[in-house]
Amino acid sequence: MEALDLLGAGFATLMDPSRLAFMLAGVILGLLVGVIPGVGGTTGVAILLPITVFLEPVSALVMLAGIYWGSMYGGLITSILFAVPGNPWSVAVMFDGRPLAVQGKAGLAMAAGFWVSFFGAIIASILFTFFAVPFASMALRFGPPEMFAVLMIAFGTFIGLGGNANKAMIMIAVGFLLSTVGLDVVTGQPRLTFGSIEMMRGFHFVPVTIGLFGIGEVLANAAERYKVQIEEVTRAAKLGLHDITAGGMAVLRNFWLATGAALLGFVTGILPGAGATPASFMAYGAAQKMSRHPERFGKGAIEGVIAPEAANNAAGTGSILPMLVLGIPGSPTAAILMAGVFMWGFIPGPRLFTEQPEFVWSFIASLYLSNLGALLICLTATPLLALMLRTPYAILAPIIVVLSLVGGYAIQNAMMDVYLVAIFGIIGFILRRLGYPLAPLVVALVLGYPTEEALRQSLIMSDGSPLIFFTRPLSAPIMIAALVLFLLPAFQLLRRRLRARAEREAPGE
């Protein structure tokens, strides 16, 4: 098996003490970030990205990815103990995790969650290992029209599977708009700069992301602080040996549910634009529908913990695949990791697999090891992690803010970026409150340049005819799928209208 040989080489590259240390440091940071309410994994990765510029690429990637994996485990703890999800993808696990905690089974819920997170992540890592090369060789045959079609899938997902389609559309347009500021990619003409040199450099997406997520979250939490009461925590956060075995058994009893949820999560994660959050909700919904006791859901069913956790960890892993193979991130966190890959001097895409096999395969090897590390730390040190929650807000908030400002500055050594962090923090707070999804904005800002390039090159190839997307054998099915995603909200609206009309007319007949 070629994939196994490559994976072995990846493990060999990773087995360097300093690389392993950075990987573990990432996992621990991620766990902390996941536990602290108000700092999600996305924020954690964004804030620490600038620091990794000064590291060796393999260490940098495994550390940042470790933060992502760690935050997936950490978010579980706060969701179950306090009903305060540290990450958007930890919301679904709260529905049943919280009732279990109220019944005094917090330890069991957490242990089952940790085990199944590990299980989901490992299934996804195995799929990742074997899918990566075929995926990359298929992607090598992609021309601009195919690239554009896949990009449209990413944005179609935000519109079709997100909440408010109109608001997602606006956010995508605004993200693209920000990415257009600066020099035109083809002709070199300045666009939307209004004669300012400062604007000519364009908007770097790191300060924008740190502002929207980091400062935006701090402000949003500040306004809602009066609602949240964190109770006595350390008592509830004990994980006994009994809980650990019982949690493991619960996962084994629901082996097929966990496997199914992990597969669903992986596929959703690969879909560019979807990521871990919708995957966790979908798995929760599916588990409830398929359960023999759907009425137990929401009242402390262990299946309600197992399904979303397996799915979100698998989706997180899956979302890295299109980022590495196509240069199209599956989630905002993957988008930030992609910016890192650029900064460390590589170009994400199918050629990465042939030109930098060490880099790619040591990352894939780190998937296995980071998750193992995260599981072991979680099972042994949960009370310590929960202690983090007792850190007073008056200390935590300034630390997050300062790290955000540091991260914003370090990326390009520009004071302008520090102001951008603050400005986008305020914008993020308002948009978040009005229910605008922030992820499409970030992903559009990152993908603005490749999207425009793919669109213009395709149209040049076809001499201006948009039919090119539908006549090429590879791009046609992808483009049609993207169109369906874009039109999904309209279909749903139409169906509701028709049903409402049918109901109104029925009594008269």
């Binding site: 109109n166 605004v174 708009l177 400062i215 300034p398 630390i399």
Partner: protein
Amino acid sequence: MTPIWLRASYRTVEIGTVSVFLLLGMVLFYESMRLGPGWGDSGPQPGFFPFVLTVCLVSGLAGVIYVDILRRPDNRPFFEVSQEVSDLLKVGIPILVAVALIRWIGMYVTAGLYLGFFMAWYGKFRWSSALAGGLIFSGALWLLLREGFNISMPMSVFYRSGTLPF
């Protein structure tokens, strides 16, 4: 009489946001017209993509105006209680002050001052703990960024005049 910030509803804020986006859309449209929205000698002109964006933005805005402002407006107050506003300002204003200070006193001093101030003022810590917190934070940042990773940070005016090392 309720203060004005408690009377603003979600709908009011939504109208404000949509107006800003509309303004952005107008700027974008103007710019795409200036750059040429159509077909040039060698393919789409630079203004083509902004023009497509204008269409996307305006169609999304039309949807929001129709659904969220006209058909199903959310008339709940944007801030439920005045404590929300005061909490927000108590956290937000120090952030803005800190951002403004960085230019003058550098990242490291600002970080310590901000943390110390916030601990003492918002967290009601004793001034000695706040002072210690600020010093430790500044020191830790210095060790991590300056000594550890050698990342350059904004320095104070005293650094530039050569009187202080940070």
